[in-house]
């Protein structure tokens, strides 16, 4: 310190401040802050000037004006007189629908692929490897277009539909399946189903408590199965099948009635799932390999059966390794669903970021809405996966 005071008067004030670490960090931050502020201020000023020159202004009023375009897949009521806001909501629902369906299918396929990659069977192993390498090294947009092209060009026209027992029909206009029409009594069945789930959650905890204190084991799996699946099924038939199935039928050039699953949805769903499954498969494989083989050996030395070794020893430990990369795969799938626009599936980007944007000319507002929606969805997914990850994390001393 004494040397600093000796030389202090020889140096000017600025260099003294610059040579002090703490002062320097404050100066750097102030400069950075001003630079960032200036940059955004400059852009904001440009935006205001440009919008003014075009006479556009900045407002979200257009959201309440009629959208006047049709959407081919809507889960909620929508017609061309509905406002842009409703079109946006339809888009959000469509995005979430394909994301959730895709995540479920991709997880199932991914776990199967991961296990097949670890199989001793040489042919199966190689087949899974070839599949994974092919899928991972080709852009997902190409997959989506390819599956869509296959459905539209290769599947038969409605008159020559592939017939599943006269109930469901697969054509190049989509999959036509029976549509359930719920009668009032059905809600009893549904109530029993929910009650079954609640009972199972309670019963699992109860069974674990009993096992911890007395060592007695209940057949938890079978009782849960009976409560969740068995009871609703039984009540369904006792109540006299309170669902009426509306079967699609051919009329003119297309099918009428029934539940239509459109080719765009099928293509996007399948392509995203098949693509993401390859990545999940590799994550699952890495996760299982990360569990030391000694764990399995120790379990069998204790006389634990093979199935219980898997479910109680290997999988819980593997999941800890699998969950973080799985989260980013789910995020990727959701974000990749925005490629829907290439095949005309009406998701967020295609509704508010596509047609609404072009019709109203409000690029700025529309794009801000789209970006915010994706940010919120991404944050929700990573938050829920972080919560799950924390729950299954190893409890350390």
């Amino acid at each position: 310190m004494s040397t600093a005071t000796v030389t202090a008067d020889q140096r000017n004030v600025i260099s003294r401040m610059w040579n002090d670490k703490e002062n320097r960090s404050v100066i750097i931050q102030i400069i950075a802050f001003i630079a960032i502020l200036a940059f955004f201020g400059f852009m904001g000023r440009n935006a205001v000037l440009n919008l003014e020159a075009l006479g556009k202004g900045f407002s979200f009023d257009f959201l309440f004006q009629p959208a006047s375009y049709d959407i081919n897949q809507t889960l909620i009521e929508y017609d061309s007189r509905s406002p842009h806001l409703r079109a946006t909501i339809v888009g959000i629902i469509n995005t979430l629908l394909v994301a959730v369906c895709g995540i479920i299918l991709a997880t199932i396929l991914g776990f199967i692929l991961g296990v097949l990659r670890l199989s001793n069977n040489w042919i199966t192993n190689r087949l899974a490897y070839v599949y994974i390498e092919y899928v991972r090294n080709v852009p997902v947009l190409v997959h989506i277009l390819m599956v869509h092209g296959f459905i539209v060009h290769t599947l038969p026209i409605p008159k020559q539909a592939i017939n599943f027992g006269d109930a469901a029909f697969l054509t190049n206009r989509g999959l036509f399946s029976p549509k359930p029409l719920f009668e009032p009594l059905f809600w009893i069945v549904f109530g029993l189903f929910v009650a079954g789930i609640i009972f199972t959650i309670w019963f699992r905890r109860y069974a674990k408590r009993v096992q911890d204190s007395t060592g007695k084991q209940y057949p938890v799996f079978w009782i849960s199965l009976a409560a969740i699946i068995g009871l609703p099924f039984l009540s369904y038939f006792i109540l006299g099948s309170p669902i009426e199935w509306q079967i699609p039928y051919l009329k003119g050039f297309n099918f009428k009635d029934g539940l239509v699953i459109r080719p765009e949805f099928i293509a996007l769903w399948l392509a995203l799932s098949l693509y993401t499954a390859a990545f999940i498969g590799e994550n699952v494989r890495a996760g299982i390999l990360a569990v030391n083989y000694g764990q399995t050996e120790a379990a069998s030395a204790l006389g634990v059966s093979r199935g219980r070794t898997l479910s109680l020893v290997v999988i819980p430990q593997a999941l800890r390794v699998i969950i973080p990369p799985l989260t980013s795969q789910y995020l990727n799938l959701t974000k990749n669903s925005s490629l829907a626009i290439a095949i005309g599936y009406m998701d967020i980007v295609a509704t508010i970021g596509g047609i609404s944007l072009n019709q109203t000319g409000r690029e700025m507002e529309c794009m801000i809405i789209v970006l915010l929606l994706y940010l919120v969805i991404s944050l929700l997914i990573s938050a829920s996966m972080n919560w799950y990850n924390k729950r299954i994390k190893i409890v350390e001393r």
């Binding site: 960090s25 750097i28 931050q29 950075a32 802050f33 960032i36 852009m43 440009n46 935006a47 000037l49 440009n50 919008l51 020159a53 199989s119 001793n120 069977n121 040489w122 042919i123 199966t124 087949l127 390498e133 092919y134 991972r136 090294n137 080709v138 852009p139 997902v140 947009l141 190409v142 277009l145 390819m146 092209g149 296959f150 539209v152 060009h153 290769t154 974000k335 990749n336 925005s338 490629l339 626009i341 290439a342 980007v349 970021g353 944007l357 690029e363 700025m364 794009m367 789209v370 970006l371 994706y374 940010l375 991404s378 944050l379």
Partner: protein, 373 residues
């Protein structure tokens, strides 16, 4: 007892080499161990063979044996063969390679294509002769290629809306890769920095970019970005797209590099500090070389992702190979082709991405040995 009596006694060291017992090695044993070891395994083998039987002969027939390789249009193909029609690849090869680049200037694109491997070899191969000069050339390559393709400074300038095909993929890939690495390093350092404002800015930037799909950013580039420029100015769509792609890749790059930075023990920075190194010196000489080395596999994976993502530009109307292919389907000559185009583009991407991922695996293995103690 009788067996033991029969075995011949050998003097130690003179035992002749015997073949292994039957059933332990050889093709039959291999099949037994790998394909038929348990009932489940037998079932898997049967299912796999059935799947192979269902897929392979049909695909080969369609792709090669029953395919038409030459012809002027689709009808000519259909007359020749019932399978794939590859004639469009030959007929439209120039479009697929150069886009709409003027014919008399195509030597410049060719030169850029030829210089690319010359720039890559010194980076990829660590025992390359004259590696130092080579790496300087590799750093200069993006700028040389940019000059060749764009023109100016003595060359006739070519507007970027003439770019297309594989050349466009190359432009997006090389630009993204060259600029996303340094920006990614800066963002990663910013995120790890002690200065709260810089850290906050880096975190916000990275998380924002990673939270939205690339396609929305491309839409921002094509529709909204011009609002943020001073009134009266505008710049090229391709340039806007390149900026977005680079920023997108650099956010992912930053996270990969941050993983590498976090793996470096704190003692390294402290040691550098105690030697009197300044922040940038300690980063440049001590921390980054180690951090980048362990994050190389992740960096290559980000490159592969960026390269694959380059096809998304078709959504905003740029014509990369996929875009050219789709435009071809819309013409009268080649109308009705669909699978062929996608298979062709898929093969192109598969070859280049598979090569990159193999290289990344090779690097991973090489680096792993050097880290073993």
């Amino acid at each position: 007892m009788t067996d033991q009596m029969k075995t011949k006694q050998y003097v130690p060291g003179e035992h002749p080499d015997m073949p292994p017992p039957a059933g332990i090695s050889g093709p039959v044993a291999w099949v037994k161990n790998n394909l038929l070891s348990s009932p489940l395994n037998v079932v898997l083998t049967v299912i796999s063979l059935w799947a192979l039987y269902k897929i392979v002969p049909g695909s080969l027939e369609w792709m090669f044996f029953d395919a038409a390789y030459t012809g002027k249009d689709r009808n000519e193909c259909l007359a020749k063969a019932g399978g794939a029609c590859w004639a469009f690849v030959g007929e439209r090869f120039e479009l697929f390679t150069y886009g709409f680049y003027p014919a008399e200037e195509r030597w410049r694109v060719n030169l850029a294509f030829i210089l690319l491997p010359i720039a890559l070899i010194p980076i990829l191969w660590d025992k390359c002769p004259f590696r130092k000069i080579g790496i300087w050339f590799a750093i200069a390559y993006p700028f040389i290629a940019g000059w060749l393709l764009l023109g100016g400074f003595g060359l006739e300038s070519v507007p970027t809306d003439k770019f297309g095909g594989f050349m466009l993929t190359l432009v997006i890939g090389v630009t993204g890769i060259t600029f996303s690495l340094p920006i990614g390093i800066l963002l990663a350092l910013g995120r790890m920095s002690n200065l709260p404002i810089i850290r906050m800015f880096s975190v916000c930037f990275i998380e924002f970019i990673r939270g939205v799909p690339l396609i929305t950013l491309l839409f921002v580039a094509s529709t909204m970005l011009s609002y943020f420029l001073p009134p009266g100015t505008s710049f090229d769509l391709l340039l806007r797209v390149l900026i977005m792609v680079t920023l997108f890749a650099s956010a992912y790059m930053a996270e990969v590099i941050r993983g590498g930075l976090q793996a470096i023990p704190k003692g390294q920075t402290e040691a550098a500090d105690s030697m009197g190194l300044k922040y940038w010196q300690s980063m440049r000489l001590i921390v980054l070389p180690q951090a980048l080395k362990i994050s190389i596999p992740g960096i290559v994976n980000t490159f592969i992702g960026l390269y694959k993502d380059s096809v998304l530009v078709i959504v905003i109307g740029l014509l990369d190979p996929l875009g050219i292919g789709r435009a071809s389907v819309a013409t009268t000559e080649w109308g009705g082709l669909s699978t062929e185009i996608y298979v062709f583009v898929a093969i192109f991407f598969f070859i280049s991405c598979f090569a990159m991922s193999r290289y990344s695996l090779y690097l991973e293995r090489k680096l792993e040995t050097s880290h073993k103690r």
